[in-house]
Symmetry: C2
Subunit: 208 residues, 2 copies
Amino acid sequence: MTDPPDTTTGRRPGGRTARVRAQVLDAVRAELAEGGHEGLTMEGVATRSGVHRATVYRRWRDVGGLLADLIDAAGEIDWQPPDTGSLRGDLTALNREIQESLVVRPSFAIALMAASFHSEQAARAQTRLWADRYAQCEILVERASARGELPAHHTDARRLLIAATAPLYHQLVLLRAEPNPRLPEQAAATAVLAATAGAFSVRREESG
Amino acid sequence: MTDPPDTTTGRRPGGRTARVRAQVLDAVRAELAEGGHEGLTMEGVATRSGVHRATVYRRWRDVGGLLADLIDAAGEIDWQPPDTGSLRGDLTALNREIQESLVVRPSFAIALMAASFHSEQAARAQTRLWADRYAQCEILVERASARGELPAHHTDARRLLIAATAPLYHQLVLLRAEPNPRLPEQAAATAVLAATAGAFSVRREESG
């Protein structure tokens, strides 16, 4: 990872481009881990990655560009939502993943959220990633409906998912509470109770 | 506000101290409104406030100190939680206040959250303010219990309040969604349904 890019392999531009990107994004992760998003500089990333400064500036332009690409790379991972056989189990597993990503130190998730407050480009990338993840998770609600776990009315999957996950972000990111190992399941169970009571039910003509 | 502090009135230190603080915090608000937390500097605040630079540095030390004091000043406002006669009404009113504070431009609430990611002092001040506000709001749940709106088991007021309010912060701050005028009431209604279904009920021996 610290080797300079081998310019003699320039004949395969796709492969080399991908390799340079991997080197640079690895360096961004390492710099974030060491100094948080505030310690992140183009110079530091170029030096650590071993990629020519000019290349880093040309391709990523600024720190916002690096962060946005790191977020995009996270979106390219073949992530699959949990499938435990019940809505409560699925939401609990999802919340455990979220809690883990927020309490691990260094937390890239928190570094990216912090960065998105002052890089418009990173903020847009993050909003896209979140929209994708919530869209992917809608299947949890569809499966629960198919299993008969939810009221007959159509359930607004997005609202249910946000109700289930928002308390984790609120407690751990904004309120900076100590991690509570019961929180993932509590928040999941609350959302399921609310859903069962019809909190997210919409008449067909209202939805869409 | 742009007058320099009158050093001839130095005989009433409490009054003068309070006046200097008001001048400086007004300047912090104005600077935040113009340039966000990233444009905030000690020099800019000193110049705008008309307070001597040396005084600003001695008393607030750095930008984190200014932000922390601004947050503390917010906590000194005589804020009262809503009292509409029903839990759903109270939580809806509370959520409307929160939504308003997050969608107004410039939003001090968002500037302070952004700042708390990189000033430990501001972060601690904000955590204190939030803890105070949630503690003040526990009375909404006590009143609802007294009115018989909640299950007989003791209700965990803090968890109920976080469930009611977290979706607003999640949608507006982290997901940067367009403000939805129905969101305050939806999130309140969801929390009430969950509470009625026992989502926040604790046996006495578990609580406290």
